[in-house]
């Protein structure tokens, strides 16, 4: 469960760039919540705040009941993040990359090895687990990054544009994995600037534009709210432009 109330963040010398302004929404457990908005809408900044890397100027947010500022390190133990920057250690194998993060989360010995094995298996990486990630394809790298984010079995999972640069097969595989995680009762927050992505996967959609929430609800609710025929038309009507429709 992620609760966001009035979250605000500005950048620039005098705080003149309002990246996120008074954002309020909730992402329940056992559901995939989509953050939809064109590039520059504030999705990455919002996720970085929830991941406790960026301190908000105002407002508050809680992940699993823990405050993202006061309890930042406790929050980090309970979230898995696939951030905008998702570089792997190219000289390490897939297994070593995942194992490293497991160790940083306090897993050791057989428990760590078993967890790493299971994840690599589930993500279809078993065959290349002991190869250096240097020569991996975008899709393979993405899977390793996901395994790394999930190694400590987090309750809440934040994904920043996870489908960027993936081919269609990888996207489909990713969707399956995210649905499986939803089935385990995890709280998933998924950001994208591509409407079709969000529509295909998310139970609830939060539409961001220029740092603000312009609408939130299920796909049907959004269509009703905007008074349009399709979600696509609703999206255009709500954000006031056709950005982000190119799939």
């Amino acid at each position: 469960m992620i609760d966001v109330a009035g979250l605000t963040k500005s950048f620039g010398k005098r705080g003149e760039v309002h990246a996120v302004a008074d954002v309020t929404f909730a992402a329940p457990s056992g559901a995939i919540t989509g953050l939809l908005g064109p590039n520059g809408a504030g999705k990455t900044t919002l996720l970085r705040m929830l991941a406790t890397l960026v301190v908000p100027d105002a407002g508050r947010a809680a992940v699993g009941g823990l405050d993202i500022v006061r309890d930042r390190y406790a929050v980090r133990e309970r979230i898995g993040v696939l951030s905008d920057a998702r570089g792997l250690y190219q000289r390490l194998t897939a297994r070593e990359n995942v194992r490293y993060y497991g160790a940083l989360h306090g897993l050791t010995g057989r428990a760590l090895e078993a967890r790493v094995d299971r994840l690599l298996d589930a993500l279809g990486l078993a065959a290349i687990a002991d190869r250096r990630t240097q020569g991996f394809s975008q899709g393979e790298k993405m899977k390793v990054a996901i395994a790394r984010a999930l190694v400590h079995d987090p309750d809440s999972i934040l994904l920043d544009e996870p489908t960027n640069g993936l081919d269609i097969m990888s996207v489909r595989a990713l969707r399956e994995q995210l649905r499986a995680l939803r089935g385990e009762g995890k709280c998933l927050l998924f950001s994208s600037h591509v409407m079709q992505e969000v529509a295909a996967l998310c139970d609830r959609i939060v539409i961001l534009a220029r740092g603000r929430v312009v609408a939130a609800g299920t796909a049907d609710e959004l269509v009703t709210q905007a008074g349009t025929r399709t979600l696509e038309d609703a999206f255009v009507a709500l954000i006031g432009s056709g950005e982000g429709l190119a799939a």
Partner: protein, 404 residues
């Protein structure tokens, strides 16, 4: 509280276990970069031998040249007695080429003896006879020859004068009221100052260079490869991340220094180096003393380099900034060499200079002065702590994320 909510949650890692996990991963990463690791380690162990063999052969050549002096002469026929004297002193006399001055200027000839055409006439009439030594003192290589030729001519002068006095019934010692005897207090180890300088300098240099590539890779490289942000989202605190990286880089640095010293040790103990009269010691004891002196440097340099690396967005940018640092560090010992003065005690507090001074003590075969040694630890260790704290602050800043 965490455990109560989620009983299956793994036990919280301790800060120490996270630091060790980071250090272990960084070391693995360093050695996986085979090319960089091999170049660094192999050049560390090979540097000493190559260096020493070159230097020793250079010195041996100079010594040989000084021993069998070949002296081109102009106007030999004017002073047959002088020529005979020189030949008795094992000097090979040759006829100087006509363009000897140009050859000396070019460095083809080192020194030429010119006998004045009026030599015989002046000598016969009891006037001082003139010979000239033509040389270019700015050439280091020529100096032993110049000195040797000068000394031989002085010797001839003294001998001739004494013979004249004896002919007139005066004891030779009357004309030499002063005898200058050289008493050189340098022990055998203290000679060969150049070799001393180079060994100390190179040992110091190893502690500066050893951790460079890895320190920059683990900071600027981590940022460049976009793996810093995910790392910062783990429970590892910035201080732990910095401590782990520093531990790994220092370990690597220590390895490079140890290999460099091993190279020196093996070469000086076992290699058939030409005997050049600089039998300074570099045995197991000196090896140990070098390590003790260099420890603060092994700890400090990675801290500084981690800082430089963290300020840069990319590896190349960091490299450019490091070259300024390297310039300063490599210049200090050279300045000390040229000052040629007894160093003040506070020099121990100056990083690099303090270490260089102590390394020289070790190479002269003397025991390390403990007070000075302790003093030499102070500044590097304080600075290392300051730099590491600065790196931890840098990577906890939000702006570190902006530099994509």
């Amino acid at each position: 509280m965490t455990a109560a909510v989620q009983p299956t949650r793994p036990p919280q890692a301790s800060p120490v276990s996270r630091v060790l996990a980071i250090a272990r991963k960084e070391l693995t990463d360093m050695f996986r970069d085979r090319r960089t690791a091999m170049v660094t380690l192999v050049s560390a162990i090979a540097a000493g031998p190559i260096f020493l063999i070159l230097i020793f052969n250079l010195i041996a050549n100079q010594a040989d040249r000084a021993r069998d002096l070949r002296l081109p002469v102009v106007g030999r026929e004017h002073a047959p007695a002088l020529a005979a004297f020189l030949e008795r002193q094992q000097v090979t006399l040759t006829d100087a080429p006509a363009d000897y001055e140009a050859q000396i200027r070019r460095g083809d000839l080192d020194v030429v003896l010119v006998v004045d055409p009026t030599f015989a006439r002046d000598a016969a009439s009891g006037k001082p006879a003139t010979v000239r030594l033509v040389f270019d003192r700015s050439r280091d290589r020529a100096r032993p020859l110049i000195d040797q030729a000068t000394q031989l001519l002085r010797g001839y002068n003294r001998l001739w004068g004494q013979q004249r006095l004896v002919l007139r019934g005066v004891a030779g010692s009357v004309a030499s009221p002063l005898i200058v005897e050289d008493v050189d207090l340098a022990t055998p180890q203290q000679s060969g100052a150049l070799v001393l300088f180079l060994v100390a300098y190179y040992g110091l240099f190893a502690s500066v260079m050893g951790g460079m590539a890895v320190s920059l890779d683990t900071t600027a490289g981590e940022r460049e490869r976009q793996s810093l942000e995910p790392l910062l989202m783990t429970p590892a605190r910035p201080g732990e991340i910095v401590a782990g990286k520093w531990l790994a880089a220092s370990t690597f640095n220590a390895l490079v220094v140890a290999l460099t010293l091993t190279g020196f040790y093996i070469t000086l103990s076992f290699a058939p180096l030409p005997a050049v009269g600089v039998p300074f010691l570099f045995g197991a004891r000196e090896f140990g003393r070098f390590v003790i002196v260099l420890l603060p440097m092994i700890a400090l340099l990675p801290a500084v380099l981690l800082y430089v690396g963290s300020r840069a967005r990319a590896y190349r940018e960091a490299q450019a900034n490091v070259s300024v640092l390297l310039f300063v560090v490599s210049l200090l010992p050279v300045v000390q060499l040229f000052l040629q003065r007894k160093e003040p005690d506070w020099i121990a507090l100056v990083p690099v200079s303090g270490q260089y001074s102590l390394l020289n003590v070790a190479l002269r075969g003397e025991a390390l002065p403990w007070a000075q040694l302790l003093l030499s630890y102070v500044t590097p260790l304080v600075l290392a702590a300051v730099f590491l704290a600065a790196v931890a602050r840098l990577i906890s800043r939000e702006s570190i994320l902006a530099g994509k």
